[in-house]
Symmetry: C2
Subunit: 210 residues, 2 copies
Amino acid sequence: MGITERKEREKQQRREEIIRAAEDVFFTKGIDLATMDDVAERAELSKGTLYLYFRNKEDLYVAVAQSAIDLLRRSMDGIEDGPDPALDKLQAMGRQTVRFARSHPNHMKAILLLEGFEVKQSGVTIHDVKEAILRDSPVGLLIRILEQGISEGLIRRDIPATLLAHTLWMQTISVIRFVYGRADILESLELKTDQVFEIHLELLLHGIRA
Amino acid sequence: MGITERKEREKQQRREEIIRAAEDVFFTKGIDLATMDDVAERAELSKGTLYLYFRNKEDLYVAVAQSAIDLLRRSMDGIEDGPDPALDKLQAMGRQTVRFARSHPNHMKAILLLEGFEVKQSGVTIHDVKEAILRDSPVGLLIRILEQGISEGLIRRDIPATLLAHTLWMQTISVIRFVYGRADILESLELKTDQVFEIHLELLLHGIRA
DNA sequence: GCCTTGAAATGACCGAGAGTCATTAAATGA
DNA sequence: TCATTTAATGACTCTCGGTCATTTCAAGGC
C-alpha cells in the first residue's frame, strides 16, 4: 500500500516543518511573545492547520524542546563507543553539554524549560517512560557509560546506575541553568563561566568515584 | 508624623494581604489557570487595585515565590548557630529542605518555578544582588556554614565558598524538582523518594569534603 | 462643620491571542 | 465522472491581562 505510506510520510514531514517554523519563531521572539499566528505564517499554513498537528501551543513547544534534546544527544553520539575509561567519557559528555549550551543557546533554553515542566502524560506506561529515556535522552547514554564505569570498578557500585545517571543529568542541567540564567550572580561572585563548569564537573566526578 | 507612618504600614499590610490571596488562588488552581480576577475576588478588592501594588501577574507571582523562600529560610533559622560541625549542619539543611518540600509542596513548587525564571531586574546593582542573597535566601546560610567548614578544615578550600554554596543549592533544587516533578521516572526506577534524597545528600557531601 | 486636595479604589472597557468549527479544496479510488 | 474521505482554511468566539476615566474617602486648613 504505497499511498498510505506516502501519506504517513508526508504527515510526518509536515509535522517536522511546523516544528522547524516554531523553532524559528519561538527562538527569535521568545516563547511568551511568539503567537500561533506567527508560527502559522512562518510555516506558510493557516493557524487551524497547526491544531491538526499539535493539541495546543504548549504541545508544540514540547515538540520543539524534544527535538532540541535529540540534537544534543546526537552531538554526543561519538562518545559512547571509543576505548576510553568511563570517567573520561563522562567528562567528555559534560564538556559537550557545555559546548552545546554555548553554540545552541536557544535549544538549550528550550531543554531547560522542558525539564522544568510538570509531566502530564496520559496513557503512557512506566515502561514506555523508561524506554524513551534510554533511547532518546542523554540520560540513556549516561546510564550505559556509568554501567561501564561500575564494571571497570572506577565508579561506586552502591548506587544504581540509573539513579546516578538521573542525578548527574539534573545537576548538570541545573548548573547550566544557573550559569546562563543568573549571569548577575555570577558577576557578583566575580567568576567566569568556564571556571564554574570545570568546578562543577570536578565535584560531580569526585562524588561518584569508587 | 504618625499618619504617614500608619499609611505606609497599611500599604504594606494590603500588599501582604494580596500576596496571601494570590497564594491561595495560585496554589489551588495552578498559576496558569488562576486569573487576576480570581485573586481580586479572593482579596475582596477590585482587579484595578491589584495593579496598584504589582506591575503584572508575573510580578505578583514572584512576590508569592519570594515569600515562600522566606518561609523556607526561616524554617532553617535554628541550624546556623549551634555547635555542630559544618557537615552536620549541611546535612540538617538538606533534610530540612526535603521536609519543607514535603510539608509545603505548593510553596516548594513556587520556589522551583522562580529559580527557573530569567532574571530581568533593572536598576539593581551587582552588590544589591549579593546582599539580597546573603540576607534572604538559604544560599546565604549555606555560604556561612561552608565558610565555617572550610576554616574547620573539613571542607575543601580550593573552591570559593560562595560558588560552592550556589552549586549545592542549585543541585538540591534540581533533585527536588526531579523527585516531585517526575514521579513517573522515579516509579520506573523503582525508587523511593527518601532513598533518592539520601543518596543525593551523600553525593554532595562526598564531593565537597576536604 | 465645610471645602479642597490628593491618594486609594473601582469596574467598565480594550486588545491580544489561543483555540474552534463550518466551509472549502484536494486527493483517492470505484 | 462522481462520491467519499482527508487536509486545510480563516473568520469567529471567548477568555483574560492590563488600562484609565471616574468615584470614594480621609486629612487637614479655614
